[in-house]
Symmetry: C2
Subunit: 202 residues, 2 copies
DNA sequence: GTCTATATGTAGATAGAC
DNA sequence: GTCTATCTACATATAGAC
């Protein structure tokens, strides 16, 4: 029983911490709130994760890093640019739907400590190379116009991530409910790749 | 001299506070840091702005709200969609260049307290209406394809704001310097409207 | 492994001299 | 208007019982 319980508690802590950290950010998060949400007390938090920084890293390694990793992985093995874009956008949006606070959380922590999360970013390097190659190939075949591939990647990620980052602004200014927002996001799995490909097709 | 000095100090405080708040967010910002950066001490901060919350509001009213306001204003008086998009993107990027931390700051505070900043968002309502009308007109004239105008607006804002929000990620993953980043942003004043218009042109 | 109680540090805010 | 010194509150972290 003890082994099971240990895993169970640690897991509950990590899930609670992920929620609190992504809601409030590193600075705004309270250990007490994490403890409450995990159904334990503060002391036990420190028992499992010596201090706040290590708890944060525990969340990041297990959660955010893995989620973003599998977005990049969606590019692996693709041979055609358009197909790669569709897969990437779908993977990106699906992960964000699972954890809508993630993009803002990442943006904040990357801004707070750019060096600390270098390993996280580096995970995407290989896929970035593949993406650049797919763009170059498509360009050579005359399928797309001449465009800076780095800018293209920025645009793609912008259209995937931004709705989640600016969600309160979007729902308010367009006067839509959370449910309507969700439907809009689902639609974007299709409309975003279309939007991008229309723009770059030769 | 005293009147001048009062204005001078209050102004220096607001500028310092804007920098610290946008760097660290509301929760992460320290009154001490604001005081240091303004070249005064904490007590004087509280003399000018009773507490942290009011200091925050002082910064927001005078700075962020005004800056975003003039982005929306760039749409006023436009009669053609493409021209409006070009003006909007240029205004958006120019304001962000002046204050690169602003988008992340806004995103955070909107997320923290959606109701509190309602007035801020509402400032854009009028221009939003105009934008929707310009899209409808262009659609009627058969100049653009059939697209959800709200999604279009989301895409435009995404491409303007996201580079600033994800800046550490972009510079690191593409291995570019801050100077190269700046050049990329300047280029985007032109390339983003082109990208968008290519995508929606009938 | 989990709790209660407590120590320690720090940030926001005030008092009061000049 | 500006400062030094101080109070208070709260968050992180630890000690120690069970």
């Amino acid at each position: 029983m003890s082994a099971v319980k240990e895993e169970g508690t640690e897991h509950r802590i990590l899930e609670a911490a992920q929620r609190v950290f992504t809601r409030k950010g590193m600075a705004g998060a309270r250990m007490q709130e994490v403890a409450d949400e995990a159904g334990i007390n503060k002391a036990l938090l420190h028992y499992y994760f010596r201090d706040k920084q290590r708890l944060f890293e525990g969340v990041f390694k297990g959660g955010a890093e893995k989620q973003f990793g599998c977005i990049w992985d969606s590019l692996k093995g693709r041979e055609h640019l358009f197909e790669a874009i569709e897969a990437f956008v779908a993977a990106y949006i699906d992960r964000m739907v699972e954890n809508p606070q993630l993009p803002l959380f990442i943006a904040n922590e990357l801004n707070r400590d750019p060096e600390g999360l270098r390993a996280f970013i580096d995970r995407g390097m290989e896929s970035r190379q593949l993406f650049l190659k797919l763009v170059a190939d498509a360009r050579e075949r005359g399928e797309i116009i001449d465009i800076d591939p780095r800018e293209l990647l920025v645009n793609i990620m912008a259209m995937c991530a931004h709705p989640f980052i600016a969600r309160p602004m979007i729902t308010h200014i367009h006067g839509i409910t959370d449910e309507a927002f969700r439907r809009m996001i689902i639609k974007r799995r299709k409309t975003v790749p279309e939007f991008i490909i229309r723009s770059i097709r030769a």
